[in-house]
């Protein structure tokens, strides 16, 4: 046991540089000869480009170049790709219209990139960008998710008739229909999962440098996965061969999914720096972030549950229209399919599940993964539907959940929707949450609130997510173009301190601390002697990056496996040094000992021997530096029950979250303080979706919520103090016993909040974001 090892709330070592203002983000990096890029963007949601006249811009002061789609095409750069294939109901792959990094004759959403101006200063680039004359012929726009595929709508892409990307049925429809036909009761709900702008604090940025001597491009950029960016930019976008392209994600100020993807701007910066043979920097302003970052969610859904007379779930069916925006972002197709429908079982033993997802194109920004990615959408419809079932069957919402939970002795549990849950005890989390939230005292609290003119409500959300993404074979079977293993290298320096190279990327999660704790625990090296290095393709081995709550569950295991190799190698070196048989060497708390003697040797001494192998075992390589790759055997399945309590002011519709309880199963916690922070952030993210955040395009495809004046982000005063506890179970597939925690709150919170509001005002449903006006109107019709 190490003081700063697994289970210790060690303060985050990265915070020293962040709190001292010494973080180094992409925009902080300036190099000699740097130029500035400004993108000319479409003001139209849908238009044909009849011509671009860049002469005035090119002649403006300080302008180095004005580049358009024509230049890009001439150089054979792009187009952007979508990396996951979903097979449509006609047996064909999803429709994938070309996604050029600079427009080729047509623009398809407001903010679509038309040209780039590169100038000596940012102000000059901005001035010149206004001089680029683009002759647009506007076309009617398709902005609404629900009727994007309706007859007679404007066609966006030739390749996608009726604006449909794919129709994806999943499950046994006939058996499902039969169960519905003979059910005692069918409960149903129609709902919208509101579109969100992911909004990491640091906007996207890129700095491209080309070295004509080595013919190498170095691209500093806001990335959650530098090697994935390098791979796609090299192999699919023809930016440069992989060995001539270095991608660096320095300090990155939050991602939440939005920095996974390969966007036009970063590709164009990489291309342009070689073309003009000058470093090129681009930093999105906040308006650009709103317009051009991939958005999240945006589903319109009808969900139904068939129940028997004992309120047992017999079958479920879901019809969803999912908006993918104007083009397919890097993982867009995966989100409303595999990351969505495979979670429809939730915590319940529903035997039959059938779903149909229609993915549509609209004249809006591309939609892709955003914290939770598909799982929040699945959980929201399921947990809302379960509450409707409870109301229809006149059962307590806790009771209907309890009756339908997968029992704890049923694990591993094969759901009807692909996933095989490895571990869980859903009733334990529910019980603990109900106790912590004082569920039995709710009626008294509601009565007291009523005296103050407030409507108090309570809502449950019992969620499961699939994290630890992902077993590579499963990814391949599903049409994914990558393997989702993770890598690590653990290197002792001769003086005994340790560098840990991880293929994951930390952009706020605290990996530099958590991973150091893992190594400290396993190798017995003092915490302060361990440095975690990530985010630079020139420094670290290939890795898949950070998303889907995978870094600890996959990347952490790779580190542990590398440590295992070091320990094993060290046994040979220690045995030789202590003149003992290798079989007699034991390793505990950083020390190799000879069983039954007081002979001991610290791992730092062993490392020194490995680098100065004057007296060294035969056949053992010098050096003390091991790498490992880990491909998980299954997803991990964090789960839990959240209970939200709200008070609604019926006069205004204002909702106050007065209490919030989260009891989660994340398996083993490495740093409970960091986990708690992730839970807090996730819940606040979910509260944001439930109460505040709504990305809104008008009928012409103009983005109405393009700034924080109109797009409401959650703030500290939108959240109460949280009651947080854990009900862990041990995942048998994960060698560290960990499951992942980064997305849980964003998945669990929205239905808990909306269920509480519906409970408070006696309405069947309230759409998100449950703004004061929405809730006030619901109050009027609920009366």
């Amino acid at each position: 046991m190490q003081e700063n090892g697994i289970g210790a709330s060690v303060r985050r070592k990265e915070d020293q540089r962040f709190l001292l203002g010494k973080g180094r983000y992409t925009d902080d990096i300036n190099v000699a000869g740097q130029t500035y890029a400004v993108f000319v963007r479409s003001p139209h949601a849908h238009a044909v480009i009849e011509g671009i006249d860049a002469r005035a811009a090119a002649a403006a002061p300080g302008v180095v170049a004005v580049l358009t789609g024509e230049d890009l095409a001439a150089d054979g750069i792009g187009p952007l790709i979508c990396g996951v294939v979903v097979t449509s109901d006609d047996g064909e792959p999803h429709r994938a219209p070309a996604h050029p990094a600079l427009a080729q004759g047509k623009v398809n959403y407001v903010g679509d990139h038309v040209a780039v101006v590169i100038a000596e200063t940012l102000a000059q680039a901005r001035d010149a960008a206004e001089l680029v004359e683009v002759n647009y012929r506007p076309l009617p726009a398709v902005a609404s998710t629900a009727d994007a595929a309706s007859d007679g709508r404007q066609q966006i892409h030739q390749e996608a008739p009726n604006n449909i990307c794919f129709n994806w049925p999943f499950g046994d429809k006939a058996a499902n229909d039969e169960a519905f036909d003979s059910a005692h009761k069918v409960s149903s709900i129609e709902l919208v999962n509101n579109r969100m702008v992911t909004n990491p604090m640091e906007p996207r940025a890129a700095l491209g440098e080309y070295n004509s001597g080595t013919e190498e491009i170095t691209l500093h950029m806001t990335t959650q996965n530098p090697h994935v960016h390098r791979l796609v930019l090299a192999a699919f976008n023809q930016l440069a061969p992989e060995h001539k392209l270095r991608v660096v994600g320095p300090d990155v100020g939050g991602g939440f999914g939005a920095k996974i993807f390969v966007y036009a701007e970063e590709l164009v910066v990489g291309w342009a720096c070689r073309k003009v043979n000058r470093p090129v920097k681009w930093t999105a302003d906040r308006t650009e972030a709103f317009m051009s970052d991939a958005h999240g969610r945006d589903h319109v859904t009808k969900a139904e549950m068939a129940l028997d007379e004992n309120s047992k779930f017999l079958a479920m069916r879901v019809h969803t229209t999912a908006n993918l925006g104007a083009y397919l972002s890097t993982f867009a197709t995966m989100v409303p399919s595999y990351l969505y429908a495979f979670l429809f079982a939730g915590q319940y033993a529903t035997p039959l599940i059938y779903s149909e997802v229609k993915a549509v194109f609209t004249n809006t920004a591309p939609v892709d993964a955003s914290r939770g990615a598909g799982r929040p959408e699945a959980t929201y419809l399921l947990e809302r539907l379960v509450d409707v079932c409870a109301a229809d069957m006149e059962l307590d919402p806790a009771e209907i959940r309890r009756r339908n939970f997968i029992p704890k002795d049923a694990f591993p549990y094969q759901t009807p929707v692909v996933q095989c849950y490895d571990s869980g005890d859903y009733e334990a989390a529910l019980d603990k949450a109900m106790e912590l939230a004082d569920y039995s005292g709710f009626e008294a609290r509601a009565a007291e609130a009523k005296n103050r003119g407030k409507l108090r409500g309570i809502g449950f959300s019992s969620y499961v997510e699939a994290c630890g993404i992902a077993p590579s074979a499963a990814v391949g079977q599903l049409g994914g173009g990558v393997g989702l293993w993770e890598s690590a290298q653990v290197r002792f320096n001769p003086t005994g301190n340790v560098q840990v190279f991880t293929g994951t990327h930390s952009h706020g999660q605290g990996h530099e601390t958590t991973f150091a704790q893992l190594v400290c625990d396993q190798l017995g090296v003092p915490f302060e002697n361990i440095e975690v290095i990530h985010g630079d393709t020139a420094k670290t081995q290939f890795g898949m990056g950070t998303y889907g709550s995978r870094s600890l569950a996959v990347g952490g295991v790779a580190i542990a496996k590398a440590c295992d190799k070091l320990i094993a190698k060290g046994k040979k070196i220690a045995a030789h040094a202590m003149e003992a048989a290798e079989g007699d060497i034991e390793f505990t708390d950083g020390n190799y000992t000879v069983a039954g003697t007081d002979k001991a040797m610290n791992i730092a001494e062993v490392a020194f021997n490995a680098y100065v192998p004057h007296s060294y075992p035969e056949g053992v390589e010098p050096g003390f530096d091991e790498n490992a790759f880990f491909d998980p055997m299954n997803f991990s399945f964090p789960a839990g029950t959240h209970i939200c309590e709200v008070e609604v002011d019926p006069a205004t519709g204002e909702v106050e979250i007065v209490d919030y309880t989260a009891v989660d199963d994340f398996g083993k916690l490495v740093n409970p303080m960091i986990v708690e922070g992730q839970v807090h952030g996730g819940i606040v993210h979910g509260i944001g979706q439930a109460l505040l955040e709504g990305c809104h395009y008008d009928e012409n495809g103009q983005l109405v919520t393009a700034s924080y004046m109109d797009y409401a982000m959650p703030r500290a005063d939108n959240a109460p103090d949280f009651r947080i506890d854990y009900a862990p179970t041990d995942p048998p597939h994960n060698p560290l016993g960990v499951k992942g925690c980064g997305e849980a709150g964003a998945i669990g919170a929205p239905p808990a909040v909306i269920n509480a509001i519906a409970n408070a005002i006696g309405a069947k449903h309230v759409e998100m974001p449950a703004t004061p006006e929405t809730v006030w109107r619901a109050c009027q019709s609920a009366v």
Binding site: A651, T652, L691, V704, T705, M709, A712, T771, R777
Partner: protein, 264 residues
């Protein structure tokens, strides 16, 4: 931002001369609206005349029943002023809830009312308290000052110097905040004065205005229940993604009732 010439006069007279001579000049007080607008390239004044160096435009003076607030006095100064907290606590509270600390430490009374954003807070106070806006040329009654959305009674190049607020018997401002911007979706300022009740509404319509019908309803009985049958005209209300007209009209009544109740 486009290029412009920057001036920092030391007196109102000098500022008036500068603005009169500028091709397309703009006065800047706290800059909380003008600077973002310029940064977004939505405004391109030839000259920016910064009023921040004019001592005579700043400060708080209480003289009998009149509280005089210099046009360049920041929201934070008004919020923290012990004189204003004593004389018109509702005004200090209003100032203390504008924007965020950064806005409150830059934004000014004069800048706010000269801009006349339809969702700004100060116009409601200026109207409801029966304040007088003093400029470098004349005095303008508060209720006559705000003429239309982003329009005021100010003439070309006229400069607000101070606002005189008469001390009411009681006053209260209730604001229903836009969840994103935290500007007023609806703000109602009511005052009980020797001359009778006064009320003003901001946020709800194109321009802050004196709420005659609220005042009438409160004339005989200054109580929340006196407004039970009050209905604000839906057809005059703003409507946007945050609040429709019907909801805004409803909020006028609710905020008015709460403001009246808070005066008790």
């Amino acid at each position: 931002m486009y290029e412009f010439s920057y001036h920092r006069p030391a007196s109102v007279a000098e500022a008036a001369e500068l603005i009169a001579n500028a091709a397309d000049g703009k006065l800047v007080a706290g800059g909380q609206t003008l600077l973002p607008t310029m940064k977004h390239r939505l405004a391109s004044p030839s000259d920016v005349i910064d009023l921040g160096g004019i001592a005579e435009m700043s400060g708080i003076v209480v003289n009998g029943n009149i509280v005089t607030v210099g046009a360049m006095t920041t929201h934070a100064e008004v919020a923290a002023s012990s004189e204003i907290r004593e004389a018109i606590p509702a005004l200090a509270a209003l100032a203390g809830n504008i924007g965020d600390p950064a806005v409150r430490n830059r934004g000014t009374l004069g800048g706010s009312i000269a801009n006349n954003d339809p969702a700004a807070d100060y116009p409601a106070a200026v109207i409801a308290l029966g304040a007088t806006v003093r400029t470098n040329r004349r005095e303008i009654a508060g209720e006559d000052f705000f003429t239309a959305m982003f329009e005021t009674a100010l003439e070309e190049d006229e400069i607000i110097v101070a606002v005189d607020f008469p001390r009411p018997d009681a006053a209260s401002y209730m604001k229903f905040e836009n969840p994103a911007s935290r500007y007023a979706i609806v703000g109602v300022f009511v005052a009980r004065t020797a001359a009778g009740p006064r009320a003003a509404v901001t946020g709800a319509t194109a321009c802050a205005h004196r709420a005659w019908r609220l005042e009438e309803a409160l004339q005989a009985d200054f109580s929340a229940s006196a407004l039970d049958d009050f209905e604000a005209p839906v057809d005059k209300m703003n409507a946007d993604i945050h609040a429709g007209a019907e909801y805004r009209a409803h909020l006028v009544k609710v905020m008015a009732q709460r403001a009246v109740a808070a005066c008790a």
